[in-house]
């Protein structure tokens, strides 16, 4: 066996052409990997350097930035408290996950367990289409449909946390559904057969066997959806109202980190205190995204164990 392997090896290596192509392939994939790693690293470093600028120059203290709700960048004594926006970002993210999570997982169950043939044929293209719709279109539709709807049915101006949550729920639905679908499909057939053999009905099988087994992967699906919701700027900015006050209810307008950054970035001058605090908000976004990724890593290691 050993001998056969070495001869094969030497035979392959002898032909310099083969070896060349081997080396070339290795070079291509290695440089691709290097580009990915380097770009991620450099973005992180750049954002960190820019983001801590406002704390170094003393425009604002880090505690004040993270906890104060006073945002008054153009006042005589400018104040840069970003808590309202951090809160707004987290609120829309969590609420949209609460709506889109169960919906997406239920859709996945339907597609795999209930109606594998036509359900999949109907739902799959719909989900793929949802992914393909640009976020500005989501925002524009929401501005034209969701906002007036809220205004006419529940009152207020319609520009609210709720409008943002509705848009984001639709936007993250495809992410959650497709990952949940993979998770449920990858559960071994033996689990299903075993459950049926013990006399379980289909619903019992899904609820007691498949869902618990797929739980870590389903959480990963929801958290990936949340990561997308957290970073979304355009669609949310169009409907959430962008006020600096802390919302007291779901019908109050609010603002997110991303919407404040996109609204103000172009107007501020490089190196000014306000511009620096916008970078700091970007850093906060990155930090929270890292936390999402850490949670996903933790969940997936638990799944493998």
């Amino acid at each position: 066996m050993q001998a056969a392997e070495t001869t094969a090896r030497t035979r392959l290596l002898r032909k310099s052409k083969k070896w060349n192509s081997e080396f070339r392939g290795k070079l291509i994939v290695m440089s691709a990997a290097l580009v990915i790693i380097l770009s991620t690293l450099s973005i992180t470093i750049f954002l960190t350097v820019k983001g801590i600028q406002s704390f170094i120059t003393g425009d604002v203290g880090i505690i004040e930035f993270l906890t104060s709700t006073n945002w008054n960048p153009t006042a005589e004594n400018p104040q840069f408290g970003a808590f309202s926006f951090i809160f707004g970002s987290l609120a829309v993210t969590l609420l949209s996950a609460i709506i889109a999570g169960p919906l997406g997982i239920a859709g996945a169950i339907f597609m795999i367990e209930i109606a594998p043939s036509w359900g999949r044929r109907a739902l799959q293209p719909v989900i793929e289409l949802l992914v393909g719709i640009p976020s500005v279109v989501y925002g524009f539709i929401a501005l034209t449909v969701v906002v007036p709807f809220i205004r006419n049915t529940v009152g207020g101006t319609g520009y609210s946390l709720l409008a943002g949550v509705i848009v984001l729920s639709v936007m993250i639905l495809p992410t959650i559904t497709s990952i949940a679908t993979d998770a449920i499909r990858s559960q071994p057939e033996d689990l299903r057969d075993g459950a049926y053999a013990l006399g379980a009905t289909r619903w019992q099988m899904i609820r007691k066997v498949i869902l618990p087994a797929a739980k870590p992967a389903l959480f990963t699906a929801i958290i990936l959806g949340m990561a997308r919701a957290f970073g979304e700027a355009l669609a949310v900015q169009m409907v959430i109202g962008n006020v600096r006050n802390l919302p007291s209810g779901i019908l109050d307008p609010s603002a997110t980190l991303t919407s404040i950054i996109t609204l103000n970035m172009g107007h501020t001058t490089y190196g000014s205190a306000e511009n620096n605090t916008l970078w700091s908000m970007g850093l906060v976004l990155l930090a929270i995204s890292f936390i999402f990724i850490l949670i996903i890593r933790y969940l997936s290691t638990r799944r493998n164990a």
Binding site: P73, A75, G241, M265, T268, Y270, S272, N275
Partner: protein, 311 residues
């Protein structure tokens, strides 16, 4: 078999892209007065007019005007290459003081922005833009006293009926803190009083849409957006919000559209700015796009906001 399919697919893709590009090129040709191809041929024969390249960035409100002017300039000087980007006044000012671009457009004075060496920049006031308080057409109010305007925007007056209008709650539509439109409106419309919180949007089109759809809404828009009946501009203290009243200095809420250069402009930048100030552009293009020609102003203003008769 598989390979042929792939090949056909890729070929189709390229064909589509090519077709789109051709369409884009075609419309561009027809929009400029002289055909592009024609003028390019001319330029090969003899070097006429100005050549070189010019980078312009800044205020997104000014971008359409400057881009249209650049298009006309290019049709007269086919060798000139002018790139006009939007990105916001802050970006324009930052980039021109760094020297990244040749001209930085801004709708506020450089002195009003932090971190900009205003003394190193030369101001060219190319146009003036008037801004009016704008309401939903059914608010039932035509004219507003400046004192009342302040009370509305600071949240002291909460219902239109207090001003003789409909019994309808007032909804404020603001701009972001750093926006030049907001700065102008707060300075000259509200005498620097801080507006209360309301829906905040950056794009004038979105603001217009919100005001037209929300009953009781009030916001502020540049005159160039007041082209139809979906929103209604209020007169302030009995002075109608129109070009004549801004030119004579009777209507207070207006701002210069600045083009800044680092130091005195020379070469192509100077040629282009002169072109912007020429009667051709000031009387023609600016009026078309809803701006007020800077050359027609009877009053002028300095960075502190002091208004004086033009000499």
């Amino acid at each position: 078999m598989k390979k042929t399919k792939l090949f056909i697919l890729i070929a189709c893709l390229f064909a589509t892209i090519g077709l789109l590009a051709a369409c884009g090129g075609g419309s561009k040709d027809s929009s400029s007065n002289n055909g592009n191809a024609e003028s390019k041929e001319n330029s090969k024969d003899e070097d006429k007019g100005n050549s070189g390249s010019l980078a312009i960035s800044g205020s997104s409100a000014m971008q359409p005007l400057v881009a249209a002017a650049a298009e006309e300039f290019k049709s007269k000087n086919p060798d000139a290459d002018i790139q006009v980007n939007a990105g916001g006044s802050g970006t324009g000012l930052s980039e021109v003081s760094e020297g990244t671009v040749d001209i930085g457009n801004s709708d506020v004075f450089a002195e009003e922005k932090d971190g900009i060496p205003a003394d190193k920049l030369t101001d060219h006031k190319v146009a003036v833009v008037g801004m009016a308080p704008v309401v939903h057409p059914e608010a039932g109010v035509e004219d507003i006293k400046k004192e009342d305007l302040k009370k509305v925007f600071t949240g002291k007056i909460k219902n239109w009926k207090e001003l003789g209008g409909k019994d309808q709650k007032i909804v404020l539509v603001n701009r972001p803190d750093s926006s030049g439109t907001r700065a102008t409106f707060v300075k000259y419309g509200l005498d620097n009083e801080t507006p209360a919180e309301g829906v905040t949007e950056d794009s004038s089109n979105t603001v217009k849409k919100i005001i037209s759809e929300t009953e009781g809404a009030i916001g502020y828009l540049a005159f160039s957006y007041l082209t139809d009946d979906t929103v209604k501009a209020l007169s302030v203290d009995g002075v109608k919000a129109d070009d004549e009243n801004v030119q004579s200095g009777k209507f207070p809420i207006w701002a210069y559209q600045h083009s800044y250069t680092k130091g005195e402009p020379d070469g192509l930048a100077k040629e282009f700015l002169d072109f912007m100030m020429s009667d051709d552009i000031q009387e023609g293009l600016m009026k078309e796009q809803g701006y007020i020609p800077a050359s027609k102003m009877e009053v002028e203003r300095d960075a502190e906001g002091k208004q004086t008769e033009k000499k």
